[in-house]
C-alpha cells in the first residue's frame, strides 16, 4: 500500500489549486484520473497538501458516485442504466455480462482484466441499450453481441 504515492505532476496540480476555493472535488478528480481510483494512501497525501482533515475528504469521496476506492478492472465495462436503456434491456446486458465474466456487478474478474458496473445515463439514449468499455461507446447492443465485443478486449472463451 505505502508505495503508492501521488506523482509530481499531480502534486503540482494540487498546489496550483490549493489557493482556490472549492478545490477538493477537482483535486480528487485529478487523482482518480491518474490511478483509475483513489488509493487509500493518496488520501493522506491530499489531506497534507491541501491541509484538510482526512475525514472531510472521505466524506466527499463516499458521497459522490464517481469516486472509487477500489481498483477497477483493466477493462472497465459500464452499462448504461438510464431509463431508455433500462426499457430496452440494459438489465439483460448486465446479467449476461455477469454470466460470461463470472463476476457480480462492481467486482473485478480474478485476472484483473474486467469489471462491470451499472452507470447513470450516458446520454446516448438514441442508441439504447448502450454501454461503454474504457470510454468507447457501443450502441443498440444485443446480448448475443457481448461475447464478440468482449473478445475485442482480449476475452477468450
Amino acid at each position: 500500500m505505502s508505495e503508492i504515492t501521488i506523482p509530481t505532476e499531480v502534486c503540482d496540480f494540487i498546489r496550483e489549486w490549493k489557493g482556490k476555493p472549492g478545490n477538493l472535488i477537482m483535486v480528487l478528480q485529478k487523482v482518480q484520473e491518474h490511478f483509475g481510483y483513489i488509493p487509500r494512501a493518496t488520501v493522506f497525501e491530499v489531506a497534507e497538501l491541501l491541509e484538510v482533515p482526512v475525514a472531510k475528504i472521505y466524506g466527499v469521496i463516499t458521497f459522490y458516485h464517481l469516486f472509487k476506492l477500489t481498483k477497477p478492472g483493466k477493462n472497465q465495462i459500464a452499462v448504461c442504466m438510464g431509463t431508455a436503456c433500462y426499457l430496452k434491456g440494459g438489465e439483460d446486458l448486465i446479467q449476461e455480462l455477469e454470466r460470461q465474466l463470472g463476476v457480480g456487478i462492481n467486482t473485478v474478474t480474478e485476472d484483473g482484466e474486467f469489471s462491470v458496473e451499472a452507470v447513470r445515463c450516458i446520454g446516448c439514449c438514441g442508441l439504447a441499450p448502450a454501454m461503454t468499455i474504457n470510454g468507447k461507446a457501443f450502441g443498440t447492443v444485443k446480448t448475443n453481441e457481448l461475447a464478440p465485443i468482449l473478445a475485442k478486449f482480449g476475452r477468450t472463451q
Binding site: 472535488i25 466524506g59 464517481l66 438510464g82 445515463c121 446520454g123 439514449c125 438514441g126 442508441l127
Partner: protein, 611 residues
C-alpha cells in the same frame, strides 16, 4: 486580438462576405461519435482529397442535429441553399456521397433522412412543427470555432447589452419575454436576476447548472457540445445585469466532450476580449471557470449544487434564503440551467416581445425534448410550448417503434409522472402537465409501449431516487426506501392488499415533509402510475400476474403442443435450458430458465406460452 464593439461588427461582416461553397457537415456530438461519426468524417476527407471535384467543398464537424436514431449523420448543403441529410453513413456510403452527390450535384436517394427533417431544412414546409431557438446553432456550425458563432450573430447580444442597455433594461426585456427556468420548476428568469441585482454585495456569482442528471435527458449536453459559446454569452449577460464578475459552469464529469469544447470556447472568447478583463473595451469584466460534478443527482438541486461547487458533500439546505440573495459562499448567485441560458442571447437580440409571441399564455418560447424509448425516430427536438404530445410522437418522431400501441410518455424523469393516451392532445406547458400529474422537468421524454410494465418502471425510478437521496432528511431517506421495498415486493408477486394505500400515504408524507425537490418529487412516479394504471397494480397484487411479462419472477415460459421441434428456441436460449430433439416437442428446464424471453421472441409458431 481583443475586439471593440466596432471590431466585432466588422469581423462579422467580413466572415459573412466570404465565398459560399458546398458544405459537408458531419454531426459530431457524443452519440454521433459513438455511432461512428469520426470514421465517416475521415472517409469523407479521404474521398474528397482523392477525387478531383468540380466544386469547392468545405468539410466540417458540427454539433448534434438531433437525429439520434440515424447517427452518424452527414448533411450536404449546396451553394443554392438546398440541403440533404444522410443518416447511418458508413465508410462505403461516405465514398458514394463524394463520388456521386458531390461530383454530380444530384442527391442520392438512399439513406436520406426525410420527415421530419423537412421541417428543419425547408422553412417553407408547413405546418412548422419544430422551432429552433435553443438549438439554433446545433448542427449548423463548428462548435470549436468562435468565428462560426460570431458569423451567426454570436456575441451580438452581449455587445448590444453593454453598449446600449442597463441591467434594468435587460431584466425588463426578460420580463416581457416571459422566459421561465427550463430546469424543471419553471421559476421566472427575470425575477431571479432581479433579486440578485437588487441585493447589495461586494461579490456576486453566476452559475450555470450543466449537471444534467435526469436519466433519459441529454438536451444540455447537445447544446454544450454543439454551441458552447451561447452558454458563455448568456452567463456574461447575466453577470453584466446583476454586477457579477465571476461565473462557474457546474458540469458532469461524464461529459468529457462538452468539457473539452467549453474550455476551448472560453479560451477563444478570452482571446477576442469577449470574456475576461474589460469585455469589448468596456468597464465590465467577467471570468468563467468550470467545476466538475462527480455523479450526484441531488446536485441538480440548487443549494446542493452550490455546496458541491464549494467542494463539499452535495447536501441541500433549507430555503429561504434563496441563492439569488445568499448563494455561493454566502453571496448573491444567479443559477440558470443550460437550456434557459441558450434562450437569453436571442431574447436580448430580438426583444422580449418577439419571444413572447411563441408559446402559450403562461409558458413562453420553445422547449427541447429528448424523445427516447420505444419511439421510431428517437432524437432531440425543439417545439413551441403548447405543442401536443401527439404532434411530438406521431408527426415529428414517426410514432411508436414496431407499430406497437402507445402506452404512456414519461416526462420529468424520476421526479415526474406519465402522460397517458387520453392526454395526447393536451397542449404541453408547465401548468397543463402539472394538472395531469406530470411535470415539464428538464426535457427527457421517455415513450413506453404496450410491452412496458408500469409497476416495473416505477420501481426503476424509485431505485434511482433511493440511491440518489443524500440521506439528510428522514421523509426522503426512509420514505423512498419503504416505497421501493413495497414495489419490489409487488413485482416479485408478494404484494399485499393494502400496498397501494401504503404507497399513497407515504407518497403524501414525502411530498409534504421532504427538505428539497428530490424528496418532494420522488413519489411522483408512484402517484402518477397508481392514478392511471391502478389495474396493473391490482393484477400484480391480487392476481399475482404481470400483464406485460416484464416482472420476471412472475412469469413462466412453457412450450405447448404447437411446437414442431424447429430448435429455434433452443438455439436462442442463452443458458441452454431447452431440451428436445429436432422435430420433437421441446421442454424448458424451469430450474435453469433465466426468463429472458428470447425463446418467446424467436418462436415462429406461437408454441411458447408466457404466463
Amino acid at each position: 486580438m481583443k475586439f471593440s464593439h466596432e471590431d466585432l461588427n466588422l469581423h462579422r461582416d467580413t466572415l459573412r462576405a466570404g465565398k459560399t461553397v458546398t458544405q459537408v457537415l458531419v454531426g459530431m456530438g457524443t452519440c454521433g461519435i459513438a455511432a461512428g461519426a469520426k470514421t465517416a468524417f475521415q472517409s469523407l476527407k479521404k474521398s474528397i482529397s482523392e477525387n478531383a471535384l468540380q466544386v469547392e467543398v468545405e468539410l466540417k464537424q458540427t454539433g448534434c442535429l438531433g437525429l439520434c436514431f440515424s447517427e452518424p449523420t452527414v448533411e450536404v448543403k449546396s451553394v443554392n441553399g438546398t440541403s440533404t441529410v444522410y443518416g447511418n453513413v458508413d465508410t462505403a456510403f461516405a465514398e458514394r456521397i463524394v463520388k456521386e452527390h458531390l461530383s454530380t450535384g444530384i442527391a442520392l436517394s438512399e439513406h436520406v433522412y426525410e420527415t421530419p427533417a423537412a421541417d428543419l431544412f425547408d422553412p417553407e414546409a408547413e405546418p412548422l412543427k419544430q422551432k429552433r431557438i435553443v438549438l439554433r446553432n446545433c448542427g449548423f456550425m463548428d462548435p470549436e470555432k468562435i468565428d462560426e458563432y460570431i458569423a451567426r450573430e454570436g456575441y451580438a447580444a452581449l455587445s448590444k447589452a453593454i453598449a446600449t442597455m442597463t441591467g434594468d433594461d435587460i431584466i425588463e426585456e426578460l420580463k416581457t419575454s416571459g422566459l421561465r427556468g427550463r430546469g424543471g420548476a419553471g421559476f421566472p428568469c427575470w425575477q431571479k436576476w432581479g433579486f440578485s441585482k437588487d441585493t447589495d454585495s461586494d461579490q456576486k456569482y453566476i452559475v450555470c447548472n450543466a449537471d444534467e442528471g435526469d436519466p433519459g435527458a441529454y438536451m444540455d449536453r447537445s447544446v454544450l457540445e454543439g454551441d458552447p459559446h451561447t452558454v458563455l454569452e448568456a452567463m456574461a449577460l447575466a453577470g453584466y445585469t446583476i454586477g457579477a464578475n465571476q461565473g462557474y459552469i457546474y458540469i458532469r464529469a461524464e461529459y468529457p466532450l462538452a468539457i473539452e469544447r467549453l474550455n476551448m470556447a472560453i479560451e477563444q472568447a478570452k482571446e477576442r476580449g469577449l470574456l475576461g478583463q474589460n469585455i469589448l473595451g468596456s468597464a465590465f469584466s467577467f471570468e468563467i471557470e468550470l467545476r466538475l460534478g462527480a455523479g450526484a443527482f441531488v446536485c441538480g438541486e440548487e443549494t446542493a449544487l452550490l455546496a458541491s461547487i464549494e467542494g463539499k458533500r452535495g447536501m441541500p439546505i433549507p430555503r429561504p434564503p434563496f441563492p439569488s440573495v445568499k448563494g455561493l459562499w454566502g453571496k448573491p448567485t444567479v443559477i440558470n440551467n443550460v437550456e434557459t441560458s441558450a434562450n437569453i442571447p436571442m431574447i436580448i437580440l430580438k426583444g422580449g416581445a418577439w419571444y413572447a409571441e411563441i408559446g402559450t399564455a403562461s409558458s413562453k418560447g420553445t422547449k427541447v425534448f429528448a424523445v427516447t424509448g420505444k419511439i421510431k425516430n428517437s432524437g432531440l427536438i425543439e417545439v413551441p410550448m403548447g405543442s401536443t404530445l401527439r404532434e411530438i410522437i406521431y408527426d415529428i418522431c414517426g410514432g411508436i417503434e414496431g407499430g406497437k400501441r402507445f402506452k404512456a410518455a414519461q416526462t420529468g424523469g424520476p421526479s415526474g409522472g406519465c402522460i397517458t393516451a387520453g392526454f395526447l392532445d393536451v397542449p404541453i406547458d408547465y401548468e397543463s402537465l402539472q394538472s395531469i400529474g406530470s411535470m415539464m422537468g428538464s426535457g427527457g421524454m421517455i415513450v413506453m409501449d404496450e410491452d412496458d410494465c408500469m409497476v416495473d418502471v416505477t420501481k426503476f425510478y424509485l431505485e434511482f431516487t433511493v440511491d440518489e437521496s443524500c440521506g439528510k432528511c428522514a421523509p426522503c431517506r426512509v420514505g423512498g426506501r419503504t416505497c421501493y421495498d413495497i414495489l419490489d415486493r409487488i413485482t416479485k408477486g408478494l404484494g399485499e392488499p393494502d400496498d397501494i394505500q401504503k404507497l399513497t400515504d407515504i407518497g403524501h408524507a414525502m411530498r409534504k415533509a421532504s427538505l428539497c425537490g428530490l424528496g418532494q418529487t420522488a413519489p411522483n412516479p408512484v402517484m402518477s402510475t397508481i392514478k392511471y394504471f391502478e389495474e396493473e397494480y391490482h393484477a400484480h397484487i391480487h392476481d399475482k400476474k404481470c400483464p406485460t411479462g416484464k416482472c420476471k419472477s412472475m412469469v413462466t415460459y412453457t412450450i405447448n403442443d404447437l411446437c414442431i421441434g424447429c430448435r429455434l428456441c433452443a438455439r436462442a436460449c442463452p443458458v441452454d435450458c431447452i431440451a428436445g430433439e429436432a422435430k420433437e416437442l421441446h421442454l424448458i428446464d424451469q430450474s435453469q430458465c433465466i426468463k429472458c424471453g428470447l425463446c418467446f421472441d424467436n418462436c415462429k409458431f406461437e408454441a411458447i406460452d408466457r404466463t
